[in-house]
Symmetry: C2
Subunit: 591 residues, 2 copies
């Protein structure tokens, strides 16, 4: 029952050959005694023909998704019947022998419905994922991912990285997103945790002298799920010794041009632009700017503070800012569109959206015109770079909110105007992140990334002197089309600096020992300077494919309840199993 | 602080060059004002020399495992001072600038003690694993593993396999070795399980039409640990569609000759021999024969049953067997050696060990000679193939015990006689395993491998007729030097046959649904014929390196209590964390 060819192999040049094929019946048609079937496998499709009393009685019984094996002769399709959409569209196979390898019940998903629209609800698709995955356009995602992984392996090996596995059964760390716990049978009352990332292990590998490490690393976060999150996900995880920020970023500049450009067949960027965090927040209202289009943001606080427009004036005078944007060619936006945008930015905290039209002669028209001089209006127009035919929008408020809301407005206008071309790939490095962020909820400064991130060398003294607000970190994110596809940092390698950072975060020596003990100790035995980066594997794939969700790049994903409708995991287990691992259930009381 | 070269790069041809290097101080010697230091990194070692008042005061302070950066000039070593053991042994670097990048406390492990003997106890090594890993001979294992993985990736890609990730958060299966459980926060009272292998997922990928799959797959088994087991381990996991046993084995024949032979630089076997399970059990007393040496086993039941030796006679007459082996050239074994062997086989259930010497003329000498005729003794000698100078050993008992105990005796004699040359690599396929095994403890037949393994086609009717004892399976193990490094099978793809196997195992329809429900359903929608194999990644490495334990091929292994002395995982967690995942502790009562 061997196959001589796959279902995408036969061409005109094979006409006359005797071949054996195996695959799934994609579609079957009985045209008055002659039966046609499309045979499908991972590689493609081919039409086979039954016109012979030996095989037709069996061919009569085959249905969609039956698995069949056939022997036959390659023949030319009749002139005019060629199918240019199929690689095998010039030929048919005239069947001489058929064997049904397996039957199929009518599939609950339309596998041969090739319009790439999934009509079924998500849970039905996930329940029958093994059928969903038979759809060529989903299969294609996994094949692409495999090909990408092959290039990833080759790239890092070529650059002297060792592929090293780190544990999945780890120690629970008491901070950050929630750990998945694994009770130990052998050590009653103790628990492993699944790793949120291999961060500590990869740093330990640098301390161990492994010099350059990479791993396709499974990570776990027990978060409340959003559409694009999965309880387990995969990182392309990298760490390098004796490097500075430029070395890590340079390695990934090469990764983009040698791996991503190759797999996705686009031209390598001359150089990936770099932008400090503060500039990104000002110009794009985002730490992950989508630079496929302009619509840049300007701060107009110094102009509006001189106006008579109380709303803006008061915001600026009380420490806030006013940010503006020129929506190119949007002068004709309707009242309804503007109302929609106003309620859109309202979701991000904006209390209002002030808009102004730039008329043909450059004159600014606005409902709040009476509060501004003509010079002030013209100054606003010039500050945001608006031209005749543009609409201007302004948002006022505390800097963080106004910046973000204007950034979200910019993206929304970009969407409305169709500026987010998925075929355009714009990469950007965002650098110089703040080392610390003040947490209102905790009432103290927290690490923006993690407490092992190094400050900029020129900010070290500032940090040691206790100025946390202005201290910038040696951290960098790689952004593609407005999506953060990776991030990393140079790590602290000096145990004294590490100790100081913990102190600044308000930890006592005892707390440091309890939370990070063994890891901090490791730095006392000759840690090299080191740094690294991690890319979100499925995030890279989805973004380059122009898809919002990572789910269809994962063979067996979980749904938004972190469950698998296919095998009903997670599921209850026997009391015996719980007893073996020394736990009992403690279920929430029902209301 | 960049390095121009690694510590293994400089040669005679570099003499005169100005270079920068970074690494760990492996050893420092002060020879009357001139200071020599060996600088070490992953790549090797180089001697650097301090003989200059600018650098010597700093060089004076460096100690073992300090991380330093130097600039200097490559010079020739003085004639006669070359070190042929080092790749860089022809040159020194005369240092002009030094910077201490990091200090080190005195390391608790002797990293520069290059005799490859670890004097420290295992838990000390694991506690400071990041230092243990700095030892070049352990680092070498991880580098070898990475190189091997690179060849694995390349081999399977070249052969059209897709690398596909399967979940770590899975459904708990109620059979087999113990599952690690993960309580769900989002689904109170439910648990994920960590996969014992991706078996069901890889079969689902075949049903999904992925055709050829491979994965470097993490697996988890909560077993009581032996020296060579780890709670998590890694498989090279493979599955193929539209194949027969020959196709899978042929793929791995190629894997051995293209990957293993390349990485370990040994000559490819002409063809990997194949041996049915029954023959392996008879000739080697093992389902994983070490065929590096002979000392084959013979069944002598039909000879001894005619003797007057009651012990043997009674065993045979009551359904047991007597197995014998010729220990080549062991005629001079002392009484003490024989006693040791007797107690050795006693561990495997043998109630005694009968021995006979073959003297110079071929005459057989034995303490139990009076129970045998000379013809019978000669027949025994010829049956086991003994020659003058050999010792013969015989073990009687129930077949399973006698076979195994004789197999163990064979291995022990092989060890004593030094026949297990680690440089010799003998691969063997063991095939035709029994489909079922009778479990005395369960009082019923169980699957030898798993219930998805297909019977031999020619044994299908036998199985359907209820003869489980003689039914053989399409299962195969790959054995290297007496170690099972992998195993696999052709799977059942016909839902009716699958149903029948479950019935034969004594399961009701309800039990099948409960235990294997969704998986069995998947076979109703057109499952292709498929089969696969999994290799133990670290087992392959350890066996080819001639090491017994897999531990030093794993960066961060657990100890024999499934714990990590480095981070003290598993460890107690906060009551809050337990509450979040809806469990409480249920600790065993203290005695």
């Amino acid at each position: 029952m061997k196959r001589s060819h796959n279902c995408n192999a036969l061409r005109k040049s094979d006409i006359g050959a005797t071949v054996t094929l195996a695959g799934w019946v994609d579609r079957r048609r009985d045209l008055g005694g002659v039966i046609f079937a499309d045979l499908r496998d991972k590689y493609g499709k081919i039409q086979v023909v039954f016109d012979n009393p030996e095989v037709n009685p069996i061919a009569d019984t085959i249905r969609n998704e039956f698995v069949i094996w056939i022997e036959g002769t390659v023949i030319a399709r009749p002139a005019g019947m060629e199918n240019p959409k199929l690689d095998t569209g010039d030929v048919d196979v005239m069947v001489t022998t058929i064997k049904i390898l397996n039957k199929s019940e009518p599939p609950p998903l339309a596998i041969n419905d090739h319009n790439e629209e999934c009509k079924e609800n998500d849970d039905l698709r996930l329940r029958y994922r093994y059928l969903d995955l038979r759809r060529p356009w989903i299969q294609k995602n996994l094949i692409l991912k495999s090909r990408f992984l092959g290039e990833v392996h080759a790239f890092f090996r070529k650059n002297g990285f060792e592929e090293i596995e780190t544990p999945i059964l780890c120690k629970s760390t008491p901070e950050g997103a929630r750990d998945y716990l694994v009770p130990s049978r052998v050590n009653p009352g103790s628990f492993y945790a699944l790793p949120q990332s291999p961060q500590q292990y990869k740093q330990l590998l640098m301390i161990a002298g492994m010099d350059r490490y990479y791993q396709i690393a499974r990570c776990f976060r027990d978060e409340d799920l959003r559409a694009d999150r999965q309880p387990e996900f995969t990182q392309i995880d990298v760490e390098m010794s004796f490097v500075e920020q430029e070395d890590v970023m340079g390695m990934f500049d090469n990764f983009v041009s040698e791996v991503l450009c190759k797999v996705w067949n686009f031209e390598a960027p001359q150089a990936i632009p770099r932008m400090p965090y503060s500039e990104a927040m000002l110009r794009y209202g985002s730490d992950k700017p989508d630079i496929r289009f302009g619509l840049e943001i300007s701060d107009v606080s110094s102009i509006v503070v001189q106006s008579e427009f109380g709303v803006f004036k008061n915001v600026v005078n009380s420490g806030g800012v006013v940010r503006g944007i020129a929506a190119t060619g949007c002068v004709e936006f309707s009242r309804k569109q503007i109302d929609d945008l106003t309620s859109y930015v309202g979701r991000y905290g904006a209390k209002g959206l002030v808009w102004m039209r730039v008329k043909d002669g450059g004159e600014v028209e606005t409902q709040v015109g009476k509060f501004f001089t003509v010079d002030q209006l013209n100054a606003l127009r010039d500050a945001v770079g608006a031209k005749a035919g543009d609409m201007m929008f302004f948002i006022a408020g505390p800097e963080k909110m106004a910046s973000n809301a204007t950034g979200q407005l910019r993206l929304e206008i970009g969407r409305i105007k169709g500026l987010m071309n998925p075929k355009v790939r714009k990469f950007l490095w965002v650098t110089d992140f703040p080392m610390f962020e003040f947490s209102e909820s905790e009432g103290r400064y927290m690490s923006t990334h993690h407490p092992f991130t190094a400050p900029l060398p020129e900010h070290l003294d500032m940090m040691l002197n206790g100025n946390l607000k202005d201290c910038l970190a040696h951290a960098y994110d790689l952004v593609l089309n407005g999506v953060e596809i990776g991030g990393g940092s140079i790590r602290i390698h000096n145990p004294d600096v590490q100790e100081k950072v913990f102190r600044l975060l308000g930890l006592t020596a005892e707390q440091v020992q309890e939370k990070f003990g063994f890891f901090v100790d490791a730095f006392k035995f000759g840690a090299p300077p080191h740094g690294g980066l991690a890319l979100g594997l499925d995030r890279v794939l989805a973004t380059l494919e122009g898809q919002d969700s990572i789910r269809d790049f994962i063979a067996f994903p979980k749904n938004t309840s972190a469950s698998s409708p296919m095998d009903n995991s997670p599921s209850p287990v026997d009391a015996e199993q719980l007893q073996e691992v020394h736990i009992t259930l403690n279920l929430p009381k029902k209301a």
